[in-house]
Amino acid sequence: MIKRVYKLYFIWQLDKEEVWINEMAAHGYSLVSCDRFSFDFEETEPGKYKYKTLFLRGRYHDKKNMDFFSFLDEVGIKVTSYIQYPGTCCIYTRALAEDYPNGIDVYSDIDSKISYEWTTFWYMLFCIILMSAGGLLNLSMFARHNALWILNYAVALLCFILALMCLIHLIKTLIKISKLKKERVIHE
């Protein structure tokens, strides 16, 4: 039986989303598909699967990504769902907990981790530019005192708040990259 849960996670909350999906799996609800606002879970033995969420560049169906997914499949990690965004996609993968008892690590070396964090960084930057442009556009319409000025004001405010949230995540990502680079000076 499929249990549908409605929940909203923003794009910068992918790690938090992963923790929640793993908690659900630990309670016997394993994710089978999702979209931006809803998650479908199947009832399974508690803790049967471990989940990992990932940002990937490009479109889900790009050959580069499909090759990567078939490699993941070879090592027991299956893509259960994805959400496509402009220029990037969020991937939801799972593996049997008996194969990955400590959770799924997709990147184990520092260079791969840094490269992955840069993917997040550039996407956050793209979102900030997009949201700020949207905010400024609505603000300029608001300044013209047209009939929908309240709507323009609200949308502008929302865009700036989203841009700020992305900026906070971008700064956190930069701090992570900086720490990884320092680590790389000493360790592989």
């Binding site: 490699f71 993941l72 499949d73 070879e74 690590d105 997709v106 184990s108 070396d109 260079d111 592989e188």
Partner: protein, 103 residues
């Protein structure tokens, strides 16, 4: 120009590919060779395999129609690189022992 040090992951991948192996086999083999110390993650292994194929240090074998799993094997240039790395590591260890143990 002297060869640059290989990463542990690349060193163990090359070492594992003396005989053809697929991705999961490499992960298991590296873990066994390092007594469980090195757990290669799938994304890291995937990136390393693609780079090694591009460099010509390993070959991707033609896909077996009975299995979807792609196998890889070390090439002669990969073997040369591995020998050079073993010589470099031996020098490191010898120097370390000589200075630390006064040999």
């Amino acid at each position: 120009m002297p060869q640059q040090a290989l990463t542990e992951a690349v060193y163990y991948i090359l070492l594992s590919l003396q005989n053809p192996l697929h991705g999961y086999g490499i992960i298991q083999n590296v873990s066994e060779l390092s007594n469980g110390r090195i757990k290669l993650a799938a994304g890291t292994l995937y990136g390393a395999l693609n780079t090694l194929v591009d460099k010509g240090w390993i070959d991707a074998l033609p896909e077996n129609p009975l299995s979807r799993k792609k196998e890889y094997v070390i090439t002669s240039s990969g073997t040369e690189i591995l020998k050079e790395e073993i010589a470099r590591l031996t020098e490191l260890v010898d120097n370390g022992k000589r200075l630390m143990e006064g040999k």
